[in-house]
Symmetry: C2
Subunit: 341 residues, 2 copies
């Protein structure tokens, strides 16, 4: 049960004041070499370590940032957070993570908690319909950055991928492969990313003179079970689709599993393409085509945008909207002539 030492303990030991100790420890020029070395040596000997909490209170900078995500145990969010942490750590920032499980109330509670603990910035992949809590962040002058799942707001930076393009490219790829009856698994269309992917899908259809058929669009929730259910529903139509563009790899996986138990050939009978490039899509025997979102990059860029913002001394608010271009990854589930990737 050792006590922790403070600069006052050092000061007492040396019969000087805490101010002098602080100066010695901080390379302040107004101090004699002798005293400085003495303090440094004593600090070392006593095992002194700076209390960052006191510093944070004094300076108003906690050197912590908060990251709010639906969940961390997905490859996508894990990679984004990895990128953020790697980029920010060298600058002395630490990352506090909060999970919402997609629950708006939990998101708001997390924002409150982060603000209370005086984080220097909040990065969020939002599940909220409302922007009220974000306005609270801005009112407190805490930098706010959206990544992936954003809300469109003035004076707020965001780092996203072009989900419209992703949806467009995936759909166009299916069309290029000769598919004409293309179904879509959409996520919750209240969330911008899913809405954008859906819009890209529709636009690609239109641009290719293909009619948009409402019953080809099934709402799913990014899990294997929903993918299976969705396929069952589609196969009951008088005119079942010859391709599926899923807004999530998990639904795509479920779809493929279901189709195989029913002896459909993929991609010959039905092509399937997912979204996100989760690791499993690559390793499956029937590898799944998908759209890469570059999560590690997204995290790093989010961190960089934040650093720019805090290092910006101007009064002018920086608003930076970074949009990454997604990349189509073609694998066996859509490639009618077998190919390795």
């Amino acid at each position: 049960m050792k006590k922790k030492f403070t600069i006052y303990d050092i000061a007492n030991a040396l019969n000087i004041t805490a101010a002098t100790v602080s100066r010695a420890l901080n390379d302040n020029p107004n101090i004699s070499k002798a005293t400085k070395e003495l303090v440094l040596k004593t600090a070392e000997k006593m095992g002194y370590e700076q209390n960052k909490l006191a510093l944070a209170l004094k300076s108003g900078k906690s050197n912590n940032v908060g990251v709010i995500v639906p969940r961390i145990d997905s490859n996508f969010f894990g990679s984004v957070i990895r990128g953020i942490e790697e980029e920010l750590n060298p600058f002395g920032y630490h990352v506090i993570i909060c999970q919402t499980n997609g629950d708006e109330a939990k998101e708001i509670a997390n924002i409150d908690a982060l603000l209370n603990s005086q984080v220097d910035g909040i990065f969020i992949s939002t599940s909220s319909k409302d922007v009220a809590s974000f306005e609270r962040i801005l009112r407190k002058d805490v930098p706010l950055i959206f990544f992936d799942r954003k809300k469109t707001m003035n004076n707020v930076s965001s780092v996203t991928i072009n989900d419209f393009d992703g949806g467009y490219k995936a759909t166009q790829h299916l069309i290029d492969n000769g598919c004409k009856q293309i179904a879509h698994f959409s996520g919750d269309l209240n969330i911008e990313i899913f809405n954008d992917r859906f819009a890209g899908y529709k636009q690609a259809l239109t641009d290719n003179g293909i009619d948009y058929i409402e019953e080809y669009v099934v709402k799913t929730r990014s899990n294997v079970e929903d993918g299976k259910k969705a396929v069952k529903k589609l196969l009951k139509l008088k005119n079942p689709p010859d391709a599926i563009f899923s807004s999530s790899d998990w639904d795509a996986l479920g779809a493929i599993q279901e189709l195989r138990t029913k002896n459909y050939k993929i991609p010959e009978d039905i092509s399937v393409i997912g979204f996100s490039n989760e690791p499993f899509t690559k390793f499956m025997e029937l590898s799944i085509s998908t759209v890469d979102q570059f999560p590690l990059e997204m995290g790093k860029i989010t961190a960089k945008v934040f650093l720019e913002q805090v290092n910006n001394s101007e009064k002018v608010k920086i608003e930076k909207k970074v949009v990454l271009e997604p990349e189509l990854i073609i694998r066996k589930s859509t490639k009618k002539t077998a190919v390795k990737k």
Copy 2:
């Protein structure tokens, strides 16, 4: 550029003192109902929010815990962290994450930083050979809990799985399937988990009267490439193995990919079993047998052990060594008679 309000602002506005405001805000009984309501209303109106930093400095409790892992973008660590966060969040704790990439220096730096920022506990999956930095944590009376990759230390709690049993079970399973020349991909044997898995492997061989052959053991680093290389090496032996127990799913995947390009039949020619139950092992066409480590559980238990520790008012140090039993998951890569799972 709105300013943040403090209890002093509220006090000024009402012509009372900060002490009274604090009492009102904290349900202190020594205050009249009228004043209390007035303060509460004014606080609400001004948008007052408590500065947790000031509270933390005063109380010596930051309500943050630090979690140190090699990386967060793996399903295993992501799940552990998810478990920790879910369990601790209801108690007002936040999780600060640090990545080491397996680098000991970075691990030490992270420990220092976490101690300085006055975390209330440190949970670590260590990559260190040395225990010096852990002793520093203990000297400061900060609860320390190891999970998964531990160091054996007195007075320190840990939550791990029985890696010896995992290794034993996997090997025994291969033997039960008729395999007699069983190779092993070991990780870095300086890390306890890998050493234990290796020991379990050897013990299973011994118990079944099978000779341990040194050239069947290849050191790998948990990635696809190393798995491929290791297989190439093994196939060059005059007496190549008929089964592989890999200490990591990633190496197992690499092995399978390499074996298939060489037209080996799995599991008929060579059986392969991995370790960790990464999601991709389940979804592959040739699903991979593996050993589940229950990472979500591990995280939750780690959090619970921590809570017990901080809520323990006794002077006696709690030392709790929780060892989870791993579960063998048999899939196609080792099941000679085809089976669905």
